[in-house]
């Protein structure tokens, strides 16, 4: 069994300040972890993924996430927020290298950027 908990349903930051979106996971197996972003009226876009290689993962648009097994966390960060980062962000877990495994989504964090 696997699940993710996104600790904040809504985060607001000022443009140019750091972004931190928190995610904790639970998995009976070695996990693959992802962050997806959903802009208004758009589909789900992959930001980055962790699959047991480097624990610090870099993604698109300056985002990165660090896998911490001891804390079962996979928080998403960005040093400086941009207005275009305003969107819904989903932390997602699946079973590592298990073939046709479904994705399990968190409830999402809505990121608002204050000008």
């Amino acid at each position: 069994a696997q699940s993710v908990t996104q600790l904040d349903s809504h985060v607001s930051v000022s443009e140019g300040t750091p972004v931190l979106l928190r995610c904790n996971y639970s998995s009976s197996y070695s996990p693959s972890l992802f962050w997806y972003v959903q802009h208004p009226n758009k589909g789900l876009q992959l930001l980055l993924k962790y699959t047991s290689a480097a624990t610090l993962v870099k993604g698109i648009n300056g985002f990165e996430a660090e896998f911490k097994k001891s804390e079962t966390s996979f928080h998403l960060t960005k040093p400086s927020a941009h207005m275009s980062d305003a969107a819904e962000y989903f932390c997602v877990v699946t079973r590592l290298w298990f073939g046709n495994e479904k994705l399990t989504f968190g409830t999402g964090t809505r990121l608002t950027i204050i000008p």
């Binding site: 589909g43 992959l46 479904k102 994705l103 989504f105 409830t107 999402g108």
Partner: protein, 113 residues
Amino acid sequence: EPEVTQTPSHQVTQMGQEVILRCVPISNHLYFYWYRQILGQKVEFLVSFYNNEISEKSEIFDDQFSVERPDGSNFTLKIRSTKLEDSAMYFCASRTRGTDTQYFGPGTRLTVL
């Protein structure tokens, strides 16, 4: 860059009617999925499909739902008799062999009246 496409973008239907949601996965992908997102809720897995058969389905995917790959490019989700609670955004996803990264389409918003 190849993308997953979905049609229509928005479908409005009457309760009890049949709907077919269409998806064109990325061309060399072999594994296909449907997810849905009820307004204000999280994205939920419905079904996975590989080699012309269902690999896994969730409790949501009851006898009213079916999936098909009618030709080499399309992947469809059919709801035989829609209910009000089927109103949601439906996402199609696909993936190739050797990776667990799924690529999502833009979604079809289904509204059941």
